[in-house]
């Protein structure tokens, strides 16, 4: 394990250079640059707000929009990390066949690229809330959510790594994951609030949803300014630790075999 981390540190320049390249590629491909890639979450939020804010929200479209956009940013990060993770080893196959460097470099390439991308969306939300409340102090809330973001990053790395290794053995992993993501999206309070389910005695659906606990570490503090309770940190931390543990186990188990199946 220590050996693995040491090797990872040795190749940090390689990793960071590729992450930088990926981001540049992503934003250069279109005239609108960063704006274009934010278009999807923003467009979705607008649609949701227009259609659902009176139905599922508390009647205040701005609060609803901010809540949806935050949720979409975090959710999109987790989903896209895992989905892109499926292609991760195939995309880096030429490097893998040339140099014996830790596989984590490639999964981190996927995750870090997505993370920076999602941070931009989160920054947009924060600025939006600050403008709406005409309160610059809202911007300080970004510090409340830092521990939560770290946990989410860890969870995303875990999911990406597991997806990457699984795809080498089962090539339909990405397809199955897309189906699972679609289901999870509707099971997670992103476009509706938790209260809606609680009223129907369906709160347990949310309690057993690991995504919800990760989401709540960032969304509520960002929107309301309340610091998450210790219990929430424990729940979110447990989810992240479980995913990282599973991923580390997968790496240890398969890192010496996966090359024969690429």
């Amino acid at each position: 394990m220590i050996h693995h981390l040491k090797a990872l540190w040795k190749f940090r320049h390689f990793l960071m250079a590729l992450v930088k390249l990926d981001l540049r590629q992503r934003y250069r491909r279109s005239v609108l640059g960063i704006g274009w890639s934010l278009l999807n979450p923003i467009a979705m939020t607008v649609v949701f707000t227009v259609v659902f804010s009176s139905l599922l929200g508390n009647g205040d479209p701005i609060t609803y929009a901010a809540s949806v956009l935050t949720g979409m940013a975090i959710w999109g990060f987790l989903r896209d990390s895992a989905l892109n993770g499926c292609r991760c080893f195939m995309a880096n196959e030429a490097y893998i066949r040339q140099s014996p460097i830790p596989y984590t470099v490639y999964t981190l390439r996927t995750v870090l690229g997505q993370a920076i991308h999602s941070m931009i969306a989160l920054a947009v939300v924060t600025v939006m809330i600050a403008i709406f409340h005409s309160n610059v102090l809202v911007l300080a809330r970004i510090f409340y959510i830092l521990p939560g973001l770290v946990l989410i990053l860890m969870a995303a790395w875990g999911a990406t790594t597991i997806a990457a290794f699984a795809t080498v053995y089962f090539h339909d992993t990405q397809h199955l994951l897309e189906v699972a993501a679609q289901i999870l999206f509707f099971l997670t309070p992103i476009m509706y609030t938790r209260k809606l389910l609680d009223d129907k005695q369906l709160g347990w659906l949310v309690d057993v949803n690991p995504i919800y606990w990760l989401l709540e570490l960032t969304r509520t503090p960002l929107l309301t300014g309340h610091v998450p309770t210790l219990q929430m940190y424990v729940a979110g931390g447990a989810v992240a630790a479980a995913l990282v543990g599973l991923a580390a186990g997968t790496v240890a188990w398969l890192q010496k075999r996966v090359i024969f199946h690429l």
């Binding site: 040795k10 190749f11 320049h13 390689f14 250079a17 590729l18 390249l21 590629q25 196959e93 030429a94 490097y95 893998i96 066949r97 040339q98 140099s99 014996p100 460097i101 080498v168 053995y169 089962f170 090539h171 339909d172 992993t173 199955l176 010496k256 075999r257 090359i259 024969f260 199946h261």
Partner: protein, 264 residues
């Protein structure tokens, strides 16, 4: 000090006939116990022993598919041995598959940086070296263009320039590389010779038996993943050539025998 210590190393792995399975198929197969996509076991290397130390120049010969490249990749650490141990001490530089894995949308300069980082070079060292790598490739202004637009020869030049810029202790080479046009080939050969003499330890895979005899002091003859013979390069090369001659003769006489039978 550079050292190679391979003990009783084997590489055996299973592949599916139809490349990969889907999870769906895996579950269905589990339910009905009927395989439409059987596993095939591949013995890429069997019980290889190899010891080399500073100053050794080891040549590896054998037919295509004998496991030469697999052995080289095992020494490079890319294929882990499934049995036995493979221990290589010293900074490794491997020259195989070097034209693969360029970032297509990045420029030549950027790719020099990526490749160098992949070899473990730090940014400060790279700053000193990057100019001479670019100059050696003679690609000039093309280096500011994306690699996507390069011809095969240009890629080869760039890859060769980056790969040979390292100062390795253990040098692993698959075939002598024919890089670019005539003028560049002369340059490349000089660079190769410099590299070979600078490296403490070298393992060379080649079909050019004369090169093996000249450059290497030891040789290893592989056949279907097994070592047939190991020893001083002249002896092993001679034995290999004799074997090839005997087989060719046998094939010829068999063919002519068949011809005579057909005529009669």
């Amino acid at each position: 000090m550079a050292k190679i210590d391979v003990q009783d190393a084997s590489i055996v792995f299973n592949v599916r006939q139809n490349r990969q399975v889907s999870l769906k198929e895996y579950i269905v197969k589990g339910l009905f116990r009927r395989s439409i996509n059987p596993e095939v076991t591949i013995h890429a290397l069997s019980n290889i022993n190899l010891n080399a130390k500073d100053g050794d120049r080891v040549g590896i010969i054998g037919h295509n598919g004998a496991g030469k490249t697999t052995l080289l990749k095992m020494l490079a650490g890319i294929y882990p041995p499934t049995e036995g141990t493979c221990c290589v001490e010293g900074k490794i530089c491997s020259l195989f598959d070097i034209t693969l894995g360029f970032e297509q949308d990045a420029t030549g300069w950027e790719n020099i940086a990526y490749r160098s980082y992949l070899q473990g070079v730090s940014p400060s060292v790279l700053r000193e070296k990057i100019k001479s790598i670019g100059e050696f490739s003679e690609l000039g202004e093309f280096l500011t263009l994306p690699v996507r637009n390069y011809s095969a020869g240009m890629r080869m030049r760039l890859a060769f320039s980056i790969a040979t810029a390292a100062e390795p202790e253990v040098l692993l080479i698959d075939e002598v590389l024919a890089a670019g046009d005539m003028a560049f080939q002369v340059k490349a050969r000089t660079r190769m010779r410099e590299l070979m003499s600078a490296a403490r330890l070298m393992v060379l895979v080649s079909h050019d038996l004369n090169t093996i005899r000249e450059v290497c002091n030891r040789a290893l003859w592989l056949k279907r993943g097994k070592v047939v013979r190991e020893g001083p390069s002249a002896e092993v090369v001679q034995a290999y050539m004799d074997d090839v001659a005997v087989r060719t003769k046998a094939r010829q006489s068999r063919q002519s025998g068949e011809l005579e039978n057909a005529a009669a």
